[in-house]
Symmetry: C2
């Protein structure tokens, strides 16, 4: 199995990308091979500096780079030999089983939509984010920013997509789905939330536990947290800032340390035909390594196929 | 000046209410008198136990109680001699200059809308919440839950209401207003956020600094944070849970300790003709005391009149 990494993506690329890839190659030895996509002349010397430790890694040359500030759709279209476009082409062709990048988030979404494409039946793919849970492990929250505005049917599907990920990748047998709302009682919230509640309630593929509130994010009430992309993005960035504030005060604890984005490495795009993960722009080698391991876990679980099977019917 | 407290409101009423009122009476001695509204037979013995320390406190008898689980509008209408209805009647009549309650939040909003009423020109009043700031002091976020769904013009007015509170009560001379969004660039977010951005940008009464993100909640970018009531409610409850989680781990720090709701005591309803504050259901004596002090500060600053003057034109 091959897992691809955009070697040019992220603020500290290509050094952090290569360092993270070498770390991941060691951890995934015998299970998966790491493929680095990017400018060979920039990547090869960094890889060679690792000597034998980097022997298993492959480089695929891509002459262009989509920069962080570029317009996603325009850059993706114009830079067909960029590391992101090449990565998606290989993913779509089945040459790699997952593609990870800490580069331009918008371009990663464009590639997901126009290269590997949404699974038939999925209205809109979502970005999923991991939520540390007090009882150990992680839950999953979606959408975390792909869709600012949502329809009730999209929120219903997020519940299904998140449940599949929780079951097949996180290993939670019968994941509980909660709708992020502003009160527990049925009928609370906006018309969108009220309609989504009714759809989630009667969906036979998921275990819906009803509305949850901001205070329930980390507790045992729900493994899958459903919300629109605006709300999910605010929650995600707020939680990340909490970790930074605690870290700056040297306040550490096993639970709060899991707020650190490095510990999961990236956010999968769910509802597309292949496995793609978006990493944080500031990704460190540890974050890159964990993103690649997550890519392996998604491919190993065949999550994209599970989603295709579910939405086929 | 008289500040009224619902002596029957909150999970630990009337004991916590009386304890908090006596604390506040001491701190506000010479500035304001505390009026306790509730069942005299329940309140008087608790007050008498304090002896001379409670000499300045007044009791106004109200025979009924709106319980936490009751339907707000129905209960408010049917229980005209409840502590909440009596409190709003006194507030409206000018017998007290602020009314505070840790009781049924919905009933407090009903009273605000139907007894003291919105200020002419204000589309919908909002619940404001205090946000601890890294550079010291507090910012203000609104709406925190009164209006699940908002129109762009409502968000614009929240920016104005919050600016007035920040200026006249928090003493921030030229408060910065930020719109909670999922990206800093203009044009980000839902159609609601895009429209609100344009209205806030050209409003001459406020200093709009543009979009902010979840990670900016506690930093220096904005003193007034504008969002819809659903988003504000999720943020508020998430922030409260962070404090509880830190406290449970005995992780304390002057900044994070300000996340504790007790330190501000309550959330003012802004955009109504008089000063009303809603406290947390679990309010402790310290929270009650701080809510009463906030009621005094609002009345002292004449914030309701400032809002009326601004929206008159």
């Amino acid at each position: 199995m091959k897992i691809a990494l955009d070697a040019m993506g992220g603020d500290f690329a290509p050094q952090a990308a290569v360092d993270g890839a070498v770390l991941a190659a060691e951890k995934l030895a015998g299970k998966a091979q790491i493929v680095l996509i990017g400018r060979e002349e920039a990547v090869r010397p960094l890889l060679e500096a690792y000597g034998d430790a980097a022997a298993s890694l492959e480089i695929i040359h891509a002459s262009q780079i989509i920069e962080m500030g570029e317009h996603p759709a325009k850059a993706y279209q114009q830079k067909q030999d960029s590391s992101i476009a090449v990565g998606y082409r290989m993913l779509h062709a089945g040459e790699v089983e997952a593609f990870c990048s800490a580069g331009n988030t918008g371009a990663m979404l464009v590639g997901a939509m126009f290269s590997v494409k949404p699974v038939p039946g999925v209205i809109r793919p979502a970005i999923a984010n991991f939520v540390p849970k007090l009882h150990g492990g992680y839950g999953i929250m979606l959408d975390a920013g792909a869709n600012a505005e949502c329809k009730p049917e999209m929120l219903e599907q997020f519940g299904e997509l998140g449940s599949l990920y929780a079951r097949y990748v996180l290993g939670i047998e019968d994941p509980k789905v909660g709708l992020m709302n502003m009160g527990e009682e049925e009928g609370k919230g906006t018309p969108l939330l009220q309609s989504a509640h009714q759809l989630l309630k009667v969906n036979p593929h998921i275990q819906f536990v009803g509305n949850i509130e901001g205070r329930d994010l980390f507790n045992d009430k729900a493994d899958v947290i459903v919300c629109d992309g605006y709300t999910g993005n605010v929650i995600l960035k707020l939680a990340e800032s909490i970790y930074d504030l605690l870290d700056a005060r040297n306040m550490h604890d096993p639970f709060f340390d899991k707020f650190n984005y490095e510990s999961v490495g990236g956010s999968p795009i769910l509802g597309i035909n292949d496995n793609a993960i978006i990493g944080h722009g500031v990704s460190t080698p540890l974050a890159i390594c964990n993103m690649l391991i997550q890519g392996y876990q998604m491919a190993h679980a065949g999550i994209a196929d599970q989603i295709k099977d579910t939405f086929k019917s």
